[in-house]
Assembly symmetry: D3
Homo-oligomer: 72 residues x 6
Amino acid sequence: MPYVLIQVTKEGVTTAQKQQLIRGATDLLVNVLDKDPATTFVVIDEVETDNWGVAGESVSVIRQKYLQSLDQ
Amino acid sequence: MPYVLIQVTKEGVTTAQKQQLIRGATDLLVNVLDKDPATTFVVIDEVETDNWGVAGESVSVIRQKYLQSLDQ
Amino acid sequence: MPYVLIQVTKEGVTTAQKQQLIRGATDLLVNVLDKDPATTFVVIDEVETDNWGVAGESVSVIRQKYLQSLDQ
Amino acid sequence: MPYVLIQVTKEGVTTAQKQQLIRGATDLLVNVLDKDPATTFVVIDEVETDNWGVAGESVSVIRQKYLQSLDQ
Amino acid sequence: MPYVLIQVTKEGVTTAQKQQLIRGATDLLVNVLDKDPATTFVVIDEVETDNWGVAGESVSVIRQKYLQSLDQ
Amino acid sequence: MPYVLIQVTKEGVTTAQKQQLIRGATDLLVNVLDKDPATTFVVIDEVETDNWGVAGESVSVIRQKYLQSLDQ
């Protein structure tokens, strides 16, 4: 009865990619722990880049700085 | 001081239903564990059907297959 | 396919109370949203009182202050 | 490698405030536990007021009752 | 910068299995979404069988009933 | 009514440090978003190093490799 939460930034994850994440996470639990796929939940949570921080900065700012660095 | 997270697929949950979930979860904690309702939080997280998987497939695909099975 | 997380302080919740929480949360989802109990998960997370804070203080400290106030 | 989740009601949190939350939570982990900011994640989850309950009522209803009380 | 939470019942998951879960979930995010493994977190949360419910019953009770059914 | 979850590896976090995390996270929400501390929850979740992975390896293995590198 596993529950898997996959939290990623909301940056254009396609429906096909979501299906691959769901399939892959389910297979992982089945293969490693012999879990029943019928009661394996996978929830994908897409987080706005303004709402995700790393190293003290939002991913929005990190992406922006990276783009600016390419211009120079 | 309980915190309750209710995660469901985003499939037309009404405002009235949300209020019933909040009331019901709060009452449950008050009745079973004698918690103070004033510090009982209930958070409802509605997840897109593309983003929720069970048995290795997204709920979107599961719903679609079900509808197709009715047509046959 | 709901997932319910119930987070409470670890202060002597009994096995019978856990069963009541599981039963009650499941019934709530069945009654309000017509969910299938077979795919309704309830997870109870018991948190040490040192690890739960409210109003800027740990529940351990809050409990201690309360006991001290009774002595005076 | 800390992970911090900040869950608040979705009531007009600005981009600048999000950056302050991210910076502040990261600094807290660095200062208190000497964590590496480069692997400190902060995720802000904004929850609709219909979906957050306290004291058995949604925040939407609580806000509405408060406004009505001012009119009287 | 993904964060993956894998929640399973605490029923003898070995250190080797945990490493497979960590490796597998990381590879999944790298392969499907081209994420950087260096900033991919995987957290495994093992939940006591008394604290996990499905179909309105704790996993402890479900396991017990299953064992009793074998005896008959 | 904010809820803050701080997830860190279980590596000797002291009671005093937990109090600093609780106080600091509460102050952050009060200062940045003008939240009421009385309804600000902070939950600290300490995760075993076997159960936390980064870059495809558990923190236990990462710590061990680091110690071995010092010996050489």
